[in-house]
Point group: C2
């Protein structure tokens, strides 16, 4: 993308309405604009981050055999009356009446709809297990939307739903999701620690929240440092083998981790002092086993091996895709701006042309840009070098390829790594190789 | 995808509520399920088609320099009051009130919002032209939704908006979109003929509808056969050169094409009889120049070269992404089912295992499937051969790779091309090469 022609508005002033750093930086760097209270439009740079996050989540869902569908945003009230949640859900549900006076709602979640779709399609235990997911906009009419996309009203979520024949099968589905989640967050370049969450009336230990560590987090967190140190991508887990899944799950739950709500001071004492970590966290995912709650209330059964109908066991698994954009910034920024982890960055690198119009400078910049125009942003604007340095730091590109007349005359490119500030000089060929390798 | 484990429900009976063939086939082949009147959930196979169509549209928008954004589904009524359309829009607009009694609406289109976003970001003629697009769900509260996704209420649309300094610039933007549209539809494997459309009070000749020819189309169409014969992908058009764009546009508009509403019998007489084509068409796109209608009514100006503010010239450009899934089926099917054009097909080929459990048959099928599991559907179900043949025809995969015990023993695969019914036999290696090449 050529910045001179891009729809990439940046703000010099700090927007007064933004209380937290991610909200300020998302507005200043031109990632989003608010269009109504708690409702945002995604500009090109922000959309690229959103898509990168969604792509990673999809790849990890596909990897564990979940199948993607796409449910609509609006749902019939009838569906929610069948589960009993229509009246139970509070004012956060946006209720709508259409021209024929039929009651609709903007889906805040999809348990009812997926259970109904499942029931219309799956008739026998032989077709189980099934895990279905979708990535779709949801709406929750928050009384006081704030913190930008972190607590917006219209938000993008991945929600998956598993259907199993038995409790043991449901546990295996849950553990596969645990792995998919840990891998997804690690691939995004952040650490999200799974913490036991309240399971409500269902009980058991099969509910976990995933929290990204950031000082502005809404929850206090206590966890064993070993949870941050594990490389989930390197773990070999056989997805079809319950024993392998159980061993993996043990490695996760064997270390203490809890939010302040669930904190157990006695257990905490058993964690060696040097491994105790306290801080704050932002919830970006939640996985949950809830058994036959919806299949039973909605009357969705399938026939078992003995011919008798039974209610499949379910779990649901959510990731806040749009929220993650803000959460990653909360965890990864400095005074100058965003520091995008490579895997979610809107562009791999920015090319900073320090003197547009200078023939040698332009030539090197164009050669760099032509090598991967879709993955690079080229700052070809007629602005001062200082503006370009500041904007590149603000936008958080992992690499800055800086080309001025002096370097260009010598065929040299200066490279700055945003995360470390480290600078080095290299030949054009080396810079091209760097772009191609991406690291 | 292994069919034995897939969420791929097929219906044996023809659904009574479906009046047209695409609706029947989409339900029978398990592409969608209705969840409320005129509202559909997309199952895995349908979603793959929807994504293929959206991908082609995006690639062609990107190719002409349009930039992707993502606006929310819900909009503030205030925005529409500024343009004067809030009261003018009829009952097709879904009006919503939130918990604070503020008026929202589910966006049926985005002229107001994009104009507002543009105004907040672009201040000078130097930043023009700009074309922004998004692919987002829209809602129109049709009084009588029907024909499945062809006339649904919640539908997926690509809408683009151009902003130019001058009428000439706006015309160039319009012509670039004309090219992007012709290329997009051709890449989808269908012919959509551009027809002059009514421009309403603005006048001029800068409004075209694109109609896919199908007997069930809602409009009568009259056109010169030459419009079907041109290969738009082969045309070399310089997108930055107004003369090149004009010449291209002349090749499009030089041939007669009109819907019955705009038909001119006198002009029709001038088309040589052997090139006259009459039929019916389904509207799948609409491009429109409307000048300063929204920039002026909403007070969005930018500063010109002389420092004086002016209202940018706009156009809007829509493609009905979800509607296209139905329209393509209307144009491409037979009595046995869907005939997917390769480029939009959910999977490139189906592998039909005629005897699961037979060692040689299973081995060949697994080898084929392992070569491209994401692009293939493997019918490994314990069903009779006849069921598999029927389901593969119904689902419309471009290629069927048929493996039975006799062929497997000889290392042979039978290949059926869905579009022509042509059958041939080949070695496993040849079949693998066919999968890799895709044609």
């Amino acid at each position: 993308m050529r910045l001179s022609r891009a729809f990439q508005p940046m703000l010099k002033e700090t927007p007064a309405e933004a209380q937290i750093v991610s909200h300020r930086l998302m507005l200043r760097a031109g990632l989003v604009r608010q269009t109504a209270s708690g409702i945002y439009a995604w500009l090109p740079a922000g959309l690229r981050v959103l898509n990168n996050i969604a792509r990673i989540v999809r790849e990890e869902q596909d990897r564990i055999g979940a199948q993607e569908v796409l449910m609509p945003t609006l749902q019939s009230a009838e569906l929610w009356k069948r589960s009993g949640r229509y009246d139970a859900y509070g004012p956060e549900m946006l209720r709508i009446r259409d021209r024929h006076e039929r009651d609709l709602l903007y889906g805040p979640t999809n348990e009812e709809m997926i259970t109904d779709l499942f029931g219309g399609a799956v008739k026998s235990y032989r077709e189980l297990p099934q895990t279905l997911y979708h990535v779709q906009w949801k709406f929750r009419d928050e009384i006081r939307p704030r913190f930008g996309v972190m607590r917006g009203r219209e938000f993008l979520m991945k929600d998956a739903y598993s259907f199993d024949s038995s409790y043991e099968g449901a546990v295996a589905s849950y553990r596969r999701q645990m792995l998919a989640y840990l891998r997804s967050f690690q691939r995004m370049g952040v650490r999200a620690v799974p913490m036991v969450a309240d399971t409500g009336p269902i009980g058991g230990d099969l509910s976990h929240e995933f929290l990204i560590l950031a000082p502005t987090g809404e929850s206090g967190v206590f966890y064993d440092a070993s949870l941050e140190e594990q490389d989930w991508l390197a773990q070999s887990v056989d997805l079809d083998d319950e024993a392998s899944l159980e061993a993996f799950f043990g490695r996760v739950t064997g270390s203490y981790a809890a939010t302040d709500e669930m904190h157990d001071a006695t257990k905490w004492e058993t964690v060696p002092a040097e491994r105790r970590r306290e801080g704050r966290g932002i919830e970006v995912g939640h996985i949950f086993y809830f058994g036959t709650k919806y299949t039973e209330s909605m009357g969705i059964s399938v026939s078992g091996a003995d011919g008798a109908p039974f209610f499949p066991q379910m779990g649901s698994y959510g990731v806040g895709i749009s929220r993650l954009v803000g959460a990653i910034i909360e965890a990864s920024h400095d005074d100058a701006g965003i520091i995008w982890p490579e895997q979610v960055a809107p562009w791999r690198a920015a090319i900073l042309n320090l003197k547009p119009g200078d023939q040698a400078t332009d030539a090197i910049c164009e050669t760099l840009y032509a090598s991967a125009p879709d993955a690079l942003v080229y700052d070809d604007r007629a602005d001062r070098a200082g503006v370009k340095f500041n904007d590149a730091d603000l936008m958080g590109h992992p690499l800055q390829l800086i080309v001025g007349p002096r370097g260009a005359a010598a065929g040299r490119v200066e490279v700055k790594r945003r995360a470390t500030g480290e600078r080095s000089e290299m030949s054009l060929d080396e810079a091209l190789a760097l772009i191609a390798s991406g690291t």
